[in-house]
């Protein structure tokens, strides 16, 4: 971040010295920026950091909401008992596996579909407005709505998908999409990808439309094919936009909880269980807050590592371009 501030100075007639004085000029008044960021930092510390630290503490205790006095005890001997319990829990490992598969598949597929769609939309000459509006329709739907909507479509008895497939004679009898393996997981992925695509496509489309035309014309003169142009010009130039799209996606990825919670609730028999649904159920139904907190911590670490990785890439690409 520090580099960017100094490297992008556009005037710089005096070279290095101009840059350095400029940096000092901004650094001198150090109270003002701190005043500006203080409210944001305080709110986040109170509303996010404090509960999360409390949660970390709870994860070292056998806290149970039904017996709070007896269970909210911390002792060094037993502090890792919840984590040990999780390590030996087959459902936990299943939920971790499901979450990783789910994230990997939905993030990648959402990205590639959005990339294809954005390239297709960039070719369109008329009616950009109508197409963008059509594209943005899923964005208007809350994740809960998306969940209910697809739960209805994939419903075994009254679902649209079964009705359509039976009417078209593709299948003879209704299929319980949300109950079978692996169609339950696939249904949830379809709903999530449907929800992710508009935002990604819009960002990638904006990126594609902003690319300099001269580069493509030069490549055409040299006889490059459409694929070569895409692979060697569009893709590298789209990199910053790709990272922005993935960062936005990663910031919102846990929204997928709403969809899983509503479509299957993690069931049946933990077939579509994810870290979030399992932790939520342990706390709200079984009142095992200690164990659920330990599990949340695993989810937080996964989320933070993923986001940190993307942000590092994003900051790197900002310096390069």
């Amino acid at each position: 971040m520090t580099d960017i501030q100094t490297t992008e100075t556009p005037i710089a007639p005096a070279g290095q010295t101009a840059k350095r004085t400029r940096g000092e000029f901004y650094r001198r008044q150090s109270r003002f920026p701190l005043m500006l960021i203080a409210p944001a930092v305080i709110i986040i510390l109170v509303v996010v950091a404090y509960p999360m630290i409390y949660s970390l503490y709870l994860s070292f205790t056998p806290y149970n909401l039904l017996r709070p006095e007896k269970t909210l005890v911390f002792s060094v001997d037993t502090m890792f008992r919840n984590y040990g319990k999780l390590l030996g829990d087959r459902i936990f490992w299943r939920s971790v596996g499901n979450t990783v598969i789910f994230l990997a598949v939905t993030v990648n597929l959402s990205y590639f579909i959005a990339l294809g769609l954005s390239q297709l939309m960039a070719l369109v000459s008329r009616g950009q407005g109508i197409m963008r509006t059509l594209l943005m329709i899923p964005m208007m739907f809350a994740p809960v709505l998306v969940g209910f909507q697809f739960a209805w479509f994939f419903n075994a008895t009254v679902g649209l998908v079964n009705n359509a497939l039976i009417a078209l004679h593709v299948i003879q009898s209704p299929k319980p999409w949300l109950i079978d393996v692996p169609s339950g997981m696939i249904s949830i992925m379809i709903a999530t990808i449907w929800m992710n695509i508009p935002m990604l496509t819009i960002i990638l489309l904006a990126g594609t439309l902003s690319l300099p035309r001269e580069v493509f014309e030069a490549a055409e003169m040299d006889g490059a094919h459409a694929w070569q142009k895409f692979r060697h010009i569009t893709m590298p130039l789209l990199r910053p936009f790709t990272l922005i799209a993935l960062t936005v996606l990663s910031l919102d990825i846990a929204r997928a909880y709403d969809i899983v919670r509503i479509m299957t609730g993690g069931g049946p028999a933990h077939r579509t269980e994810m870290i979030w649904t399992y932790a939520g159920r342990l706390a709200t139904r079984d009142s095992q807050y200690g164990l659920a907190s330990a599990m949340s911590m695993v989810g937080v670490v996964l989320g933070v590592v993923f986001t940190l990785y993307l942000f590092r890439q994003l900051i790197k690409s900002r310096v390069v371009y």
């Binding site: 950091a49 197409m131 739907f141 809350a142 209805w152 846990a254 909880y257 949340s296 371009y321």
Partner: protein, 294 residues
Amino acid sequence: MTEAMLKPRRRWNRRKTQKWLIDIAVVIVLLIFALPAIWIVFTAFRPGNEINVTPPVWIPKKLTLDAFGALFGLNPGYSSGVPVMEYLRNSSFTALLSTSVALAVGTMAGYAFSRFDFRLHLTVFLGIMLSRAVPGVALGLPLFLVMRRYGLVDTTVGLALVYTAVNIPFTVWLMDGFFRQIPKELDESAYIDGCGYWTAFWRIDLPLALPGVAAAGIFAFLAAWNEYQIASLITKTPKSKTFPVGLYDFTSQFTVDWRGMTAMSVLMIVPAIIFVILIQRRLTEGLTFGALKG
């Protein structure tokens, strides 16, 4: 000679047809893509005897507003019994309050990150961003315990406070990008003319960044309006329940009132429709600002 004149013309025609074909193909792809959403909206306007019947009725025969009447208790003899007005009040209050506070706080912080170099600049920025990466369940569970201690569970003020914190990171990120687009020379000439830092921010940079503030505000509003995970953990009664949680009122053990649910869904997407129409073009700018210019 006639051939020579015809040839380029035919070629031009073929290119034109090709363009038309691409346009039509893209519209069809997007229509299929939007179909699930269109289906939900149509269901809200269909009479009850067309929904979930075998064999299915694919094309609506007539459209009615009955479902909305039932939702607001206007139909004599039948009412859904769902406290829609309370949900509307709670959703609007939490979304508006959290959006305004997050905008004020986030814009200031975004300005600081875009303009000033201070100690731990990157660390604080990343810290704010990472707070957004905490999954809703992981945050909601301890928040419930903490808020219960301060009597904030099942209050709209408590929920608005949580949404403010949740909305700050994205607002900071967007505003950082927007302020980076405004040349620093403007501030510097203001300082030379004797403006203080605060005046330069308030009189010069903020007015220029207003489109960005609007875009960030819309994202924040919709995020709060649509939030479900945390609301489902800390709201319990119509006193503070919002639309996303209220959707569950249409489900019972074995059946779901799809007609009522789709009607409420249509109410829920009204603000989103208004915003998308308003900012359709500008939406991308906010997100991609700063992609090419650091």
